[in-house]
Symmetry: C2
Subunit: 681 residues, 2 copies
Amino acid sequence: MSFTVTVRCARRAIGTRWLLVLVSLCVCVCVCRAASPQEEEDSAMENIVTEKRAEESHRQDSADLLIFILLLTLTILTIWLFKHRRFRFLHETGLAMIYGLLVGVVLRYGIHMPRDGTNVILNCNVNASPATVLINVSGKFYEYTLKRVITSNGNKVDDMSDNENEMLHKVTFDPEVFFNILLPPIIFHAGYSLKRRHFFRNMGSILAYAFLGTVISAFIIGLLMYGTVTLMKHVGHLAGEFFFTDCLFFGAIVSATDPVTVLAIFHELQVDADLYALLFGESVLNDAVAVVLSSSIVAYQPAGDNSHTFEGMALLKSFGMFLGVFSGSFSLGVATGIVTFTKLRDFQLLETALFFLMSWSTFLLAEACGFTGVVAVLFCGITQAHYTFNNLSPESQDRTKQLFELLNFLAENFIFSYMGLTLFTFHNHVFNPMFIVGAFLAVFLGRAANIYPLSLLLNLGRRHKIRSNFQHMMMFAGLRGAMTFALSIRDTATYARQMMFSTTLLIVFFTVWICGGGTTQMLSCQRIRVGVDSDQDNSVSDRGPERRSTKQESAWLFRIWYNFDHNYLKPILTHSGPPLTATLPPCCGPLARFLTSPQAYENEGQLKDDDSDLILTDDINLAYGDITVNTDASGVHTSSAGFASGMMSDDLDRELAYGDNEVVMRGTRLYYIFDMHAEDA
Amino acid sequence: MSFTVTVRCARRAIGTRWLLVLVSLCVCVCVCRAASPQEEEDSAMENIVTEKRAEESHRQDSADLLIFILLLTLTILTIWLFKHRRFRFLHETGLAMIYGLLVGVVLRYGIHMPRDGTNVILNCNVNASPATVLINVSGKFYEYTLKRVITSNGNKVDDMSDNENEMLHKVTFDPEVFFNILLPPIIFHAGYSLKRRHFFRNMGSILAYAFLGTVISAFIIGLLMYGTVTLMKHVGHLAGEFFFTDCLFFGAIVSATDPVTVLAIFHELQVDADLYALLFGESVLNDAVAVVLSSSIVAYQPAGDNSHTFEGMALLKSFGMFLGVFSGSFSLGVATGIVTFTKLRDFQLLETALFFLMSWSTFLLAEACGFTGVVAVLFCGITQAHYTFNNLSPESQDRTKQLFELLNFLAENFIFSYMGLTLFTFHNHVFNPMFIVGAFLAVFLGRAANIYPLSLLLNLGRRHKIRSNFQHMMMFAGLRGAMTFALSIRDTATYARQMMFSTTLLIVFFTVWICGGGTTQMLSCQRIRVGVDSDQDNSVSDRGPERRSTKQESAWLFRIWYNFDHNYLKPILTHSGPPLTATLPPCCGPLARFLTSPQAYENEGQLKDDDSDLILTDDINLAYGDITVNTDASGVHTSSAGFASGMMSDDLDRELAYGDNEVVMRGTRLYYIFDMHAEDA
């Protein structure tokens, strides 16, 4: 025993040594980067110079990326130390932001490097702005591609070339990188991990918070910000234009919550599973709502006549666009998710690769169609967790989980460390104290207007009421994170957008550090039960009295969907479930036989021998053995037949009870997988 | 039994249905992509137009990427069908090329879309070619970044805008993508999987083939091509300049072998392990040699005075550069590999993430320092497999293997399908029949000049001779692949480079399809033993008579390195091995105590109780239990003490025998991992 302690001490010592080495390495790279030689120009050997410059630029890019990699490495090592010492006040994302901030300070104030004078301004008389320009420089043609538009007043251009340090410019990524590379794996992972029993139990409430709540929050924040901006205009604190649509846009982007910090602590402390499901489900879905909401507002904005004022018609148009893009992305995501029923069980590498590619192609397909890739990827993730996951071999189930877990971890920490960095390196910050105070207040009130009234309404229909301490916790856990940042950095061209971006950054910092860090205090303050064993909870729900409540609890809409899913979708899309020949009306016999996988018959054949009274225990035993195939088949066999032959009330009841149990089982299994790995997250 | 057959049939039917759907989807996307609406310009609403154009361009990019994703998906599904039916004539890479070719044909001939007229030529009087240009278009500033230089003659520019279809232009990736994104995971994976017993046994031969052989091959091919080119100049078949350095460059890039197809079949058929090790080891290392060789030739090439002729001095300079870059990359790779001794065993996600990041930072660090990232990554992979792998938790060992396996699979298939595509979409192909015939002949002779003379020399010193049928097989397995392609596409500016690129493409196609497809025939023709059980081979080597041979077999250089590694490096860098206090001289006591991990003492403590005669059996038992820690410690304990106290000949002998056995065990374990997954590869 004392030996392991020694080992730990030695490891700790090594850990801290490492941190020192890495910090110094990080600083070294920064300094070296700045000191790297700038090539002198020589007009005689242009070709060589161009080649050398390309090489030099490649080396600098590598060094820039290296800074971020080292930052992430540093974050990982520090998190490890924290986890080792069970230090819960600072989550990895908060830490990543702090390291980002530090590197940002070094880059901004530690290194002074004048911008080289290669920025040539050409005054050309073309009345268009082509995507590609060929410039004839003394006989040679150089192809240039359009990078960005710089705002029209001439001062700005000079400002930029004077103040903006070449290096700061370099460490600034194209904002689209966040949207097209870093966000998709995060969102997909969220969708892919959503498949838990408590999520389905609380589906109605989660949908209400995520859809209705986010829209309410966006409008409340938008209106409050419009008030603030009008006040600022009166006082004279506003240096540029700020339209009502800008306020609405701000409301939309700031309404996407991301309580990753809070959820990590919830998981560690085993907080009530319903609360966890409510928070997690809401945060996953409201990201999608916020993306589509903000993009519909933007799509309306440049309407040609420059009337950024409130219009009933335009609102309707935006709403229509919202519905269109959302349902398009949703159906695309679900469709691709459903199509990916991988049947390559014998070749795990192929299976995993195919799974990964199909998920990615959902994103690309949605983007190519003009929908929102992120939303499509989210619903693709949810569908794949619900259907495709059952078709995967056990190795691939682990592999895909681990792969997306890793991608999620890397992308998330990268975004948060970039957030920290950008506070100092972004060159167009507009910090307006009045706007910031207004925004904090509006965010607080917007969250309150989402949680409390909706909880009141939902409690009217819920059997398990959402207690007031849960409501306070949800209110408190309204952190803002990666999605808010990605949406706000996407366009920082105008004064209004710059002010929004700076304010958003502060909101993210504040909520992640203060609200995230205070989670344990808040939990004990609100007297929320911790250490709840989710399994114990499960076994209780198998008992008789709970059965009825399961039925009561599920909304009628959910029940209809559930039956449809269980009797038709699952048999068609997975190997599990009852054969379609049993669930479809007899007239569809040939179709049913065509669509049913032979394995489903196999399972049915096995079941015929069993006594249906034994199904429940049988179910549980099987659930821990070969979960994917047998559970469904056994849990459903009798009831589905009942369903097909007239849907008797009692049968439906049993079906739901078994069905829920099945969800429980699968939920539990997933929970174990989580349990093994989520600790690292 | 008959049931599984039915299932299989059903699956096959589904598989073929899928393929049809995917092919049509792929074509659909291509066509839709072409038909996507082109935005009309309107000078009044420029801002909106710019925004819309950016959006449109993003959508098109997504669609382009989607084509590749669908191609990969198609490849995976077809491979699955092939694997299912044990169809060995076509490897996945060959298949990826075929699909790429088909899509290339569709893009080239199926779709006619005129290039839109947005390509404006500005004639500006600047005598420099800046990296960024600000263009003042009626008051607004547009920032353009330099993309490429177009060759000086005015016709070319017109040619390009006329002939080159906008779409073909779009599906052409920046060549640096291959070098900086796709190649590193492939090369790292190769290095990371190199840790096998037979590799170390044949180390001397492998190094000879890879280093000496590749240089010989490059120079032979270079000289032969120079002859061909001189002949072409006389006959008048040469339309541009082609210098001697170009010939040498061609020799270097074409000398990188990539027998991935052959090795996959070797693995499946369980071909002799020594032959496998020779081929695999050579192909991994000669990639590194070829990269550095070609870049040293290029670095010498633009020497200002345009003398592309042969010079003794310049050759020496190139050689110096080769040594410098190679040793720099090598030491950087090894150093980073050694530094990554992950001690986060309790948190697998952090461990995997750290491992991934450190490997990537090796690449970036090397590139930032001006070395070759690919070479650094290769040696980083080898070192990590040798040291870091032992420190990882078993879960992370699996995770990292699987992660890099997946990345390797995706990157490799992407490169090969892009290769197929590029045969039709690349716009500057120069197919010269004479050059092509010359190149095929030169490649054949170059490979022969590598294998046969070196084998003759090596057989003088080897105990296990490399038989002539092995030599023929190695000759036959000299396929060219991803590395050759990436090196040749990197620079296609001049006529010579374009001709090289087109010829290289044909060489890759020919070798992958013909040589790759004919592997099984060649094996049976050369009467090479298949179905060799690697484990059986292992157990034999534990017997008495084999022990001596082990010693004889290992070269003296290898033995010295092995002892150093085992007694000093492994104890310092991993938890395994004997404690340093036992291996270092007594005067270094404090240092030894500081560097030794407590776990090593722990292992030693356990061993003191064991009878040293039992070590061998003990070793084997432990090897299958907790391999990383105990095997080394037990296998080495007595012998290392003997080594420290004067290195008796008998002790050294036993040490080597045990040591080899240890390599065997680890090799075997890896083999199992491979065995499980390599089937999919």
